[in-house]
Amino acid sequence: MFRLALPFIAALAACATTDPPQPELTAAREMVAQARSAAGTEAPAELAAAQGKLARAESAMQRGHYEHARLLAEQAQADAKLAWTNAEKARAERALRQERSGT
């Protein structure tokens, strides 16, 4: 019964959403792009998660699963922001180490 319900919920989500989640996707793309420029080496796991979710959001969008796309876009944005912030943290802490070691 429960297993059967899940695809129905996805179908329901697609129908219940009136508008395509364009703003969420745009924000997610921008955040992922920003993270990619900084987080490739500093936070690769978080960046990979963000990129995977963004790709899934894009395809959900194409299939018209707007609610699903919105959730994935929001998560992709949150993951990308964490990736970017972790990269910033690594950069700042490296700068601090360099400053303290006097180089």
Binding site: C15, L71, K81, L82, A92, E99
Partner: protein, 299 residues
């Protein structure tokens, strides 16, 4: 056509969710609570990442509300996930800003230390320059002092040499004058026979040349005072001899004053038979004791 069908499913799903959210959503909610607690308890986060923490709190509140209302488990899980990631972002952002603040403080500290070091170096250089200048001036003063001492010594040596040459010349010119150098200065000894008749204190005309020479000498050395000391032998009354020696010394002084020498430069004294230079038992000795001594004081 599809919609009525979907609505039935919604009602069914809501009823189902109202009973219980999935264990996976429950786990996600637990993780979100833990992450949010960790972030909100950090003073760094409150100071540096308040907006990020607020965004996390808002998502957690949505998740809790949906869970309590029996909302779709998928949305509970979604909001809990957002709350967890945003909490971690808040912590990370706070660490970033703390590190940046530390870097700025360390740079400021280093800059201040560099300025202090430069100031210390400059002060040390100034002090060193001052020391060097003081040492230079001291050396200069010492050199000047030494030069002055050397000149003064040269001058004294030259003066002493000149004086002894002059005294020697006087001794050579006047046959009966003997000169000797003592601690008191040069002493010229004139025999009484050269200056006076026996028993008298009137200068003989033969003494003129000796007195002229002596006056000339004194004019040449205006900064030297002299003492004229009269002595007798021990023959006769001591008092008579004392007075005679005084009168004779005074007569020599008067003769020099009449030749233009200032009176205050000359100290005339008589000592009678005191301070003999030879034995009074022989005529030769007595002749040596009858004398006038002219002491030329050192300048």
């Amino acid at each position: 056509m599809r919609k009525p069908f979907s609505l039935t499913i919604v009602a069914a799903a809501l009823a189902l969710a109202g009973c219980a959210i999935t264990p996976q959503a429950e786990r996600q909610l637990e993780e979100a609570r833990a992450a949010y607690r960790l972030a909100s308890e950090s003073p760094h986060v409150q100071r540096y990442a308040a907006p990020e923490l607020a965004a996390a709190g808002s998502a957690l509140k949505d998740a809790e509300r949906l869970a309590a209302e029996g909302g779709p488990t998928e949305l509970v899980e979604h909001n809990a996930y957002l709350a967890e990631q945003r909490s971690r972002t808040a912590l990370s952002a706070a660490d970033t800003r703390q590190a940046e603040a530390d870097v700025a403080a360390a740079r400021e500290e280093r800059r201040r230390a560099e300025i202090q070091a430069r100031e210390r170096e400059a002060a040390a250089a100034r002090a060193q320059a001052q020391q060097a200048e003081i040492a230079r001036r001291e050396a200069e003063l010492r050199a000047q002092l030494l030069e002055r001492e050397r000149l003064e010594k040269d001058r004294q040596t030259l003066a002493a040499t000149e004086l002894s040459a002059e005294v020697k010349r006087l001794e050579t010119e006047l046959a009966d004058v003997r000169a000797k150098q003592t601690d008191r200065g040069w002493i010229l000894t004139l025999k009484n026979e050269l200056l006076f008749d026996s028993g008298g204190a009137t200068l003989k005309s033969g003494a003129e040349r000796a007195l002229d020479n002596l006056a000339q000498f004194l004019r040449k050395y205006p900064d030297r005072d002299i003492a004229i000391e009269g002595f007798t032998d021990s023959v006769g009354s001591k008092e008579v001899n004392q007075r005679l020696s005084e009168r004779r010394a005074a007569a020599v002084k008067d003769a020099l004053v009449s030749r233009g020498i200032e009176s205050r430069r000359i100290d005339a004294r008589g000592y009678g038979p005191s301070f003999p230079v030879a034995s009074n038992a022989t005529e030769t000795g007595r002749q040596l004791n009858r004398r006038v001594e002219i002491v030329i004081n050192p300048s």
